[in-house]
């Protein structure tokens, strides 16, 4: 028994159970934090009645959703209607299996990995699983047979397809720099230092790619300012208009699970995963149990930071219009990421992929080219299109702000 528990398989199973439990709990509490942060941004209290300062609010919410009547309207496509929340919930969960949690742990004579699954194509696995998520949204919108849901569903399809291309290209920048698809190797390569001080995190090497990745991750998890598919003010609830009770709750939970997975993915790809510079406990050489716990806490801290950032943005930024959304993807992010990708290719080709001054210089050049091209061609990435032909006779309205 002890032999099994200290083997890689035993540790993987225990870790999987722990991660699933922690994730369920944190998904439930994300909703509570979201409302608390909304209260903070809008200068009010937020939920504060259930338990001490509202700490039991999530449990009360869950109980309420469980006890509510679950209406399946007569006009829906019932099998797909039930399948959609299950798919979106499952997919948001499964992607988490490949996140490297805490390097390696010394157990007796064994050196085991604190990672549930270590596929050779870890990055591709997470990306593929995340892409299935669009089915949940589209099926939910289609099967509801409601015009709001339907419109939300096709909007979601167009949005997620458009933002998947810059997402994939940004990840390709990291893959080129690291030369591997294994998430644990990517983390390990980021634990080294430039000049003995500055950690080799990809966010320092490729800041533009990090920014674009953050934007596309927001869009892929349907968060503000990209929550067009469920825009309450125009589409009631978008793809989950017809859902009620626990199925609605599953859509809600899946959104937060998706946020956690996206944050974990950003943290591993660009912020060094479990690595925290200058502290001996979070270096790859430290394999004692307390070091592993420290590493897991570091990764959890980074994930918490990104979740906080996403919530903060949600309650601060207004929603984009749909044509602005697609223009940002096709005319803003894709040209930038194509430039960044070319930059990464050139850096690898001349053998300077880990050289900080070259990478930053390249980033500055790409940014300058993009800004110059945007300025010269008068293409606005967001905002009103100034160059549309006028329909009415009379003085031409340029569409810019009135002075």
């Amino acid at each position: 028994m002890v032999e099994f528990l200290t083997s890689q398989l035993g540790v993987s199973i225990i870790l999987a159970l722990v991660v699933i439990g922690v994730m369920l709990g944190s998904v439930a509490y994300c909703i509570f934090f979201e409302r608390k942060i909304a209260g903070w941004v809008q200068d009010r209290f937020g939920p504060n009645r259930v338990g001490y300062r509202g700490i039991l609010q999530s449990i009360a919410d869950g109980g309420k959703l469980l006890l509510k009547e679950d209406v399946i309207p007569g006009h829906v496509d019932t099998p797909l209607f039930i399948l959609a929340p299950a798919i979106i919930f499952l997919v948001a969960f499964v992607g988490f299996a490949a996140i490297p949690w805490g390097g390696q742990l010394q157990l007796g004579e064994n050196l085991v990995d604190i990672q549930v699954a270590k596929p050779d194509i870890g990055l591709l696995y997470i990306l593929g699983v995340a892409s299935i998520g669009v089915y949940g949204v589209v099926l939910g919108g289609w099967s509801s047979n409601n015009k709001y849901s339907f419109y939300g569903g096709i909007r979601a399809a167009a949005q997620m397809l458009s933002y998947e291309i810059p997402l994939g290209l940004c990840i390709l920048v990291v893959v080129l720099t690291m030369g591997t698809l294994r998430l644990e190797s990517i983390t390990l390569q980021q634990t080294e230092y430039w000049g003995g001080i500055l950690p080799m995190w990809n966010v320092i090497l490729h800041p533009l790619a990090f920014l674009v990745f953050l934007i596309t991750a927001l869009a892929e998890s349907n968060r503000m300012p990209f929550d067009l598919p469920e825009a309450e003010q125009e589409l009631v609830g978008g793809y989950h208009t017809e859902y009620s009770g626990l199925k609605f709750g599953m859509f809600l939970l899946a959104e937060y699970a998706h946020m956690i997975t996206a944050s974990g993915f950003i943290a591993v790809l660009f912020l060094g995963g479990w690595h925290f510079p200058w502290i001996a406990w979070t270096q790859p050489e430290a394999t004692a149990w307390y070091a592993v716990i420290a590493k897991m806490l570091v990764l959890a801290g980074k994930i918490t930071f990104f979740i906080f950032l996403m919530m903060w943005l949600r309650w601060t930024l207004p929603r984009l219009r749909f044509d602005q959304l697609l223009r940002l993807a096709w005319k803003g992010l894709i040209p930038i990421t194509l430039g960044l990708f070319t930059l990464a290719v050139i850096l690898v080709y001349v053998g300077r992929q880990q050289s900080l001054p070259w990478a930053l210089l390249g980033n500055a050049v790409v940014l300058a080219i993009v800004l110059a091209a945007a300025g010269l061609s008068q293409v606005e990435v967001t905002g009103r299109q100034a160059n549309l032909p006028s329909i009415r006779p009379g003085p031409v309205s340029t569409g810019t702000a009135r002075t």
Partner: protein, 162 residues
Amino acid sequence: MISILTSTVHSLVLAGPLAQPSATHGNTNVELVVGIFLFVIAGFVIGFGGLTIGRIVRPTMPHPEKGKAYECGEPAIGDSWVQFDLRFYTVALVFIVFDVEVALLWPWAVVFKDMGAPAFWAFIVFFLLIAIPFLYEWKSGYLNWVRASTAQKRRSVLEEGT
């Protein structure tokens, strides 16, 4: 599969050392399958288990009004499974071309560091295959969301005028 593909391409087209597998060892198949399936099973159990428990404890009070589509209180007119705006179709079409191209770059990106000049020139050709159609689509206006409706408005205004 990918390794077979790349090694075939390598032996047919390019001459040079192939990338060696990284030093860190992977999982055995059992560990991999068990690890991933634990998450799949947990997702299923929590999802469908929750729905089953909900089915037992929740009330069911059917009413003809509850079975209707919600459209802000108005009775719904017609089905919503209708033909919809073709601009969504254009986005999907452009996406398919792009995504296949990006997907083909993945195995290449892993081995590029060790393959040098031939891989670089292959990339240049491939990149032009992406970039030129992209610029063509941009120039032709297929990436403009508001293009079609503006053209329609102008046409209707012209028809009214004559």
